[in-house]
Subunit: 357 residues, 3 copies
C-alpha cells in the first residue's frame, strides 16, 4: 500500500489530483476498485467515468484541462512502462534466497554464486558455474559446463544441455529446452540419414526471456545466439546456427530454420516461419503466419506466404477476395463485346482493312 503521490514519485510521473489517496494495487480498468490504479490508454482513455479506479495511468499527451479535478491521473510519456513499474512496486515481493534444497543433486565441482535458490529435484552437471542470486526451480536439469549469469531465473522442468551459456537477468520458463541437437543429417548412398553430430553451442545474452516449452537448438559448429533483451514467447523453435539480434520479439509458435539471421528490434508475430539461411533486417515486423521465404530488408512490415510487404499482401488479398465477383463479370462483358463485334464485322467483310487480321 502506498499514497498516490508516493507512487507518482516512484514512477517519475506528475500526480494530477489527490496525492493522499491510498493505493493498494494495480487492477484492470473494468474491475478496479477505489483503492486501485488502472491503465487507461486507447479507447479506455475516453471512458474514465465508467471505471471505479482511484487513479489512472494515462499517456501524457492526452491530458487536457477538462481532466483536472475530475480524475486522479498519472501522465507518462510511456504509460505502459509506468504501468509495468507500478505492478512491480505494488505486487512483486522482493526475492528471498532459499539456499540449495537438500534434494537437489549438484556435481561436486559446481560453482554457485551468492544467495542462490536451487529447488528440490534440480540436477546440475560437472563444471557448471552459476552467478549470484540465481533461482533454479524444481525439476530443472542442467548439463555439464553450462554457465548462467547473475539474477537469472530458470523455471521448473527446463532442460539445458551441455556447454550452453546463459547471461544475466534472463528468465527461462518451464519446459523450455536449450541446446538440444540441431536437425542435421547427411543422406548416404543408400538413402540412409547419417546424423551430423551437433558440436556447437547456444549463447543466450543478458536480459533474454524464453517462453514455456520453447526450444533453442545448439549449432552444428559455432553457436546459436539470442541477442540481449530479446523476448521469446511459448512454443517457439529456434534451429541450429540462428542468430537473433538485440531487443527483438518472437511470438508464440514461431519456427526458424537453420542459420536464420534476425536483426535488432525485429518483431515476428505468431506462427511465423522462416526458410533456412534467410535474413530479416533491423526493425522489421513480420505479420502472423507469414512465411519468410527470402531475406527481407529492415524497417518495413511484411506478411504472406511467400513473404511480401504488408501493403502488397493487403492489395493481393483484396483482389483475391473480389476475384469470384469480378472475373465472371469481366468474362460476361468480354463475351458481350465479342458477340457485338461479330455482328458488326460481316457488314464490313468487303473492307480491305479486315483482311490484315
Amino acid at each position: 500500500m502506498m499514497k498516490l503521490g508516493d507512487l507518482a514519485a516512484a514512477l517519475g510521473t506528475p500526480c494530477l489530483g489527490n496525492p493522499e489517496v491510498c493505493i493498494t494495487g494495480v487492477a484492470e480498468f473494468e474491475t478496479a476498485t477505489e483503492a486501485q490504479v488502472a491503465l487507461a490508454i486507447g479507447p479506455r482513455r475516453e471512458q474514465l467515468a465508467t471505471s471505479q479506479a482511484a487513479a489512472f495511468i494515462v499517456a501524457a499527451d492526452t491530458v487536457t484541462d477538462a481532466d483536472r479535478g475530475r480524475y486522479n491521473l498519472l501522465p507518462s510519456a510511456y504509460p505502459k512502462v509506468a504501468f509495468a513499474r507500478a505492478i512491480q512496486l505494488l505486487h512483486v515481493p522482493s526475492r528471498l534466497p532459499e539456499g540449495i534444497a537438500p534434494e537437489a543433486c549438484l556435481a561436486p565441482d559446481v560453482i554457485v554464486g551468492a544467495e542462490p535458490t536451487i529447488g528440490p529435484r534440480v540436477v546440475i552437471g560437472a563444471g557448471v558455474r552459476l552467478g549470484a542470486r540465481v533461482t533454479i526451480h524444481p525439476g530443472v536439469v542442467i548439463g555439464r559446463h553450462v554457465t548462467i549469469g547473475d539474477e537469472t531465473t530458470i523455471f521448473p522442468n527446463v532442460t539445458i544441455y551441455d556447454g550452453v551459456r546463459i547471461g544475466a537477468r534472463c528468465i527461462v520458463h518451464a519446459g523450455a529446452v536449450i541446446g538440444a541437437d540441431g536437425f542435421g543429417y547427411a543422406r548416404d548412398a543408400d538413402g540412409t540419414h547419417v546424423k551430423i553430430p551437433q558440436i556447437g553451442t547456444v549463447v543466450i545474452e543478458d536480459d533474454v526471456e524464453i517462453g514455456a516449452n520453447s526450444t533453442v537448438d545448439r549449432a552444428t559448429l559455432g553457436e546459436t545466439r539470442i541477442g540481449r533483451g530479446t523476448k521469446i514467447d511459448n512454443l517457439v523453435h529456434i534451429a541450429h546456427n540462428c542468430t537473433i539480434g538485440e531487443e527483438s520479439l518472437l511470438a508464440a509458435l514461431v519456427g526458424l530454420s537453420g542459420g536464420v539471421k534476425i536483426g535488432r528490434r525485429v518483431t515476428l508475430a505468431g506462427q511465423v516461419g522462416a526458410n533456412p539461411q534467410v535474413e530479416v533486417g533491423d526493425g522489421a515486423t513480420i505479420a502472423g503466419k507469414a512465411g519468410i521465404t527470402k531475406s527481407v530488408p529492415g524497417g518495413e512490415t511484411y506478411a504472406g506466404m511467400p513473404i511480401t510487404t504488408l501493403r502488397e499482401w493487403k492489395r493481393e488479398r483484396i483482389y483475391a477476395a473480389r476475384l469470384p465477383y469480378r472475373l465472371p463479370d469481366i468474362e460476361a462483358r468480354l463475351t458481350a463485346v465479342e458477340t457485338r463485334l461479330a455482328s458488326v464485322l460481316p457488314m464490313l467483310a468487303q473492307s480491305p482493312a479486315e483482311s490484315e487480321e
Copy 2:
C-alpha cells in the same frame, strides 16, 4: 470379459443377435477377432462382412431388417459414445490409489484429499490444496497456493505455476505448463522492453483436458480461463487473459494471442492462430491453419488468412487456382477484340461519333 447382452445393458443399447457371445474387448474394425466388438460407422457400416468382429456398434438409424440374424449389432443414437463407454468398461482398470511416494517432496502445509496417488519426484509448494482421488504423476512441479479438484490427473513433468486453480476431473498431459508469465512488455524511451509483471492467474474449470506440452499463460491482471468440458490438444498456446467457453475443442498447434475470447462449443482445427483480443462466437468452427484476424460470429464455419467464411474461402481458392488459365485467356480475347476493333475504326474514321472518344 462379458457377455454381449450384458455389454448392451451396460451401454444402454438394444442387443440385436446373440446375447450369449463372449466379448473380451474392443478392437479396430479391420483387426477385430471373433471375441471383440468393433465400431462400424461411415463407410465401414456397409462392409460388416469383411470384419471378423463378434459384434458391431452401429448408428441406430442404419439398422434394417436385412441385418437381423446376420450380425450381432448394438445400435445406438450416439454410436461413438457407446464405443467410448465399451472401451472404458472392457479395458480401463479401476483407479487404485497408491498413496504418496516417499520420494515426493511436499511443503508441510499441503492439504491432500482422500485416496491420493502422488508419484516420486513430485514437488508441491506451500499452501496447495489437492482434492480427493487426485493422481499426480512423477516429475510434476506444483507451485504455491495452487488448488486442484477431485479426481484430476496430472501426467509426468507438468509444471503448474503459483496460484493456478484447476477443477475436478481434469486431465493434464505430460509436459504441459499452466500459469507461466504472459508475453507482455512495454517499450521504453530507449527501445528496451520492460517486462510487465504478470500477476494474474489461470482458472481451469471442471472436466477440461489439456494436451502434452501445451501452455496456458497466466493473466497480466485478472485471469485466463478455460471453460468446463473444453478439450485442448497437444502443443497448443493459450496466451494471457484468454477466455475459452465450455465444451470447446482446440486441436494441436493452435495459438491464441492475448485476450482472445472463444465461445462455447467452438472448434478450432489444427494450427489455427488468433490475433489479440478477437472474439469467436458460440458454435463456430474454424478450419485448419486459419488466421482469426477479426472477431467472427458463432454458428458458422470459417477458414483462411485473413479469416472469411468457409464458403467464401472455397470460392476464392477455386478462382485463384483457375486464374493462371483464365487470365491469359481473357487477355488474349481482349487483345483479339482490340485488334479487330482497331481494324474497324479507320473505316468509320470520318464518322462524327468517333470524335467523342
Copy 3:
C-alpha cells in the same frame, strides 16, 4: 588429433595434398584455422582461398587439376556424410557407461541391459525392459511395460507413457512426450464430449530421432508407428494412429491429425499440417506451411493450402501477385473497347445483323 592422411583413410576418401598435416578438429568454413578441416560445398567450393582451413571436404565431381597442389582436399561422392563422420571421429567422445544413479527410482522388476547410464531423478515403472548401453538422462519418467532397445538415448525430462515400445539406437530429445492420449471424444446427446479411452500404443522403430518437446500420441486402438530411420524435429505433433514410413524427415512444428499415413523418404518442411486420415506417398516433399488437405501421390513436391503441386502453387502465386496490376488494366481496356464499340454500333443501327443480338 590425427594426420590428414589418417582422417582420409577413416572417411574412405582420397587424400589430395599433404597427408602429414595435423588435424585437430572440424570447423565452419569461415572460422576454421590451419589445423581444422572444413566442408566446402555449394558457393563455398569456389571460395577456398578465403578460408584458413587446413583441408576441405569437397564433392568428388568438383575436383579439377587446378586444385591439385593448391589445397588439401578430401573428395567424397557424399561430402556431407564425410563431414558428419569427421565430426564424429574428431569431436565425439566414446560413451562411458555411468551405471544407475542412486537417486534414480526404478520399479523392482525393471530389466536393465548391459552398461547402462541412468541419471538421477529418473523414474521407471513396473515391467520395463531396457536394452544394452541405454542412456537415460535425469528427469526422465518412463511408465509401465515400456521397452527401449539397445544404445538408445533419452534426454532429460522426457515422458514415456505406459506400454510404448522404442527401438535400438534411437535418440529422444528433452521434453518430448511419447504415448500421451490421442485427442478423441464422442459428442453425447447433450453436447458433452465423452472421452474415448486411448488404449492403443506407440511403436518407434530403430534409428529414429525425435526432437525436443515433440509429442507422439498413442493410438485409440492399435498403434501409432514411426518407421525406422525417420527423423523428427522439435515441437512436432504426431496424433493417434498415424503411421510414418522409413527414413522420412519431419521439420519443426509439423502437425499431423489422427490416422495420417506418411510414406517412406518423405520430407515435411516446417509448420506443415495434415488433415485426418490423409496419405502422402513415398518420396514426396511437402513445402513449408502447406496444408495436406487430401491424399497425394509420392515422388512429387507439393505446397499450398489447400495442397497442390509446387509447380501449380508457384503459378498461382505469380498470378495472385500480378492480379492487382493486371485486373485494373483488363477492366480499363475492356471499358475502352465497350466505349468504342458503343460509338460504332449506332452507325450500323440500321443493319439487320444487329437485330440478332
